[in-house]
Subunit: 286 residues, 2 copies
């Protein structure tokens, strides 16, 4: 089955989906994105992603190409056309194609580019990695200073994933001024007794949609949520660690820089939060 | 006349030059670029740009799609096809199109994407802006920490140009820890008596090809070159200020954050260095 993708109003076979070399997304990384998970053919936390998308666009003064209800409709159409039961929908909006290259933003009449495509992951909820956990390494956080805006400037996170792979690990956690900011494409947490610790919101981390939901469920489940910076040493000494993102839900972290966290196996708190998250989000999926 | 551009081996009308939505340059800003100026139909400092391009590719482990002599040949063909007397050639190389999105680098078998196009600027050497000078504002340097690699992560420099425009100015100079790093797309200098001061090379600035040539010519013309950090206050108190880049050569800066530099008009040192640069580089153009 050929994947059908969405590009500026058209549903196309993926091989036909092409953009101009002058698109600002290609020449200047001038664009933003969202990834929404699909379970049972339904969208997980679509509203959260739509709200964050609108914020990213506003921060960069990129015109929204369509209202949320049409984005929702388009997402559902992609799920239907590609027969997705479990997987992700990737959505990207750029400042469009002004027909030439300039550091100046194009005239407001230049329409934004909007592209979306599915990724089919049949075992997304029952991911094997969730049973063994992630091994992570720490690397310096070299990213720009506004990572709260979900831009497509993903070169360094991609390099971070490759550094982890070369070290025989699954992901990198970024460290800035001695404290963990987040993972390459996820928020980072540690567990100490009844406390769940994750970095406070600022322009230094992505304001995770999955993060917000998991912290809400954690509080409801009587955990104490501490939003503050923590060090790698503190994480290595924690009872558990985990990461969250739309595509991995709650992912146990069992090793940091070669040191086992807790038992060195996925811990009960991460497991419980993953179960609660999946159950609640499946109920609320649309 | 329709502009003819280069894309992965083909010379195409610009409207037909399209890349896959899965290109790593479009989804992850995973690419590098160079801009080479054209004067009298010849390339300015092609070798310098080729050397820096090779370094950028090496730093990111992107395969070079073709040897320098073929890139040179392609540049000359673009000049010929588009009848360019004065202007620029923009060249971009990305990690290519793996056919899907992943933070992992694609298999080495995935070819890099190479695209190049001309920009026709008939008065590039005799630019009106060089007679009036740039007015600049200072803004915080929020870019990532490896701007010595010439990546396409240009969103913040582009935002900086727009902030300058909104302030009625021509460019922004970035400030990091109290000192100027560089302009949005150029290196920054001040002049004090016989001394020309510009920030030392590090991962905090682009290693300008025009910068290297201008500093060489400055030393030959008996100026004292000081490579060190300077503050905005020091720049405002200097005799002159200027910026250099391939597309602006040596550009006088006459105002910084609303304060006139020196006489508030383009100064003699910047003018002299611009003249020497143009004369010498025209002689050496290929």
């Amino acid at each position: 089955m050929t994947r059908i993708v969405y590009l500026n109003g058209d549903y196309l076979p993926e091989a036909e989906a092409k953009i101009s070399i002058f698109d600002r997304g290609f020449l200047m990384a001038d664009g933003v994105y969202e990834v929404t998970s699909v379970l049972d053919g339904k969208l997980i936390d679509f509203e959260g992603h739509a709200i964050r998308l609108a914020r990213s666009l506003r921060e960069l003064e990129i015109a929204s190409p369509m209202p949320d209800d049409r984005i929702l409709e388009m997402h559902r159409e992609l799920v239907r056309l590609n027969d997705i039961d479990q997987g992700m929908i990737y959505l990207q909006i750029t400042r469009g194609n002004p027909g030439d290259r300039s550091f100046m933003f194009p005239d407001a009449a230049v329409p934004s580019t909007i592209v979306a495509f599915t990724q089919n992951v049949p075992n997304l909820a029952d991911a094997p990695a969730a049973r063994t956990g992630f091994k992570v390494i720490s690397i310096p956080d070299l990213r720009w200073d506004r990572v709260d805006i979900k831009t497509i400037q993903l070169l360094y996170p991609s390099m971070g994933k490759m550094l982890a792979k070369k070290a025989g690990c699954d992901d990198s956690w970024f460290v800035q001024d001695g404290a963990v900011t987040e993972g390459t494409s996820n928020n980072a947490y540690i567990v100490k007794g009844n406390r769940i610790i994750t970095r406070h919101l600022s322009s230094d981390i992505l304001h995770g949609i999955t993060r917000a939901a998991v912290l809400r469920f954690a509080a409801e489940a009587q955990y104490v949520v501490e939003e503050r910076a923590f060090t790698i040493a503190e994480a290595q000494d924690a009872d558990e660690a985990f990461s969250t993102a739309a595509s991995i839900f709650v992912m146990p972290v069992v090793e940091i820089d070669g040191k086992a966290v807790g038992s060195g196996k996925p811990g009960p708190v991460a497991g419980r939060l993953r179960d609660i998250y999946l159950e609640e989000m499946r109920k609320a999926a649309i």
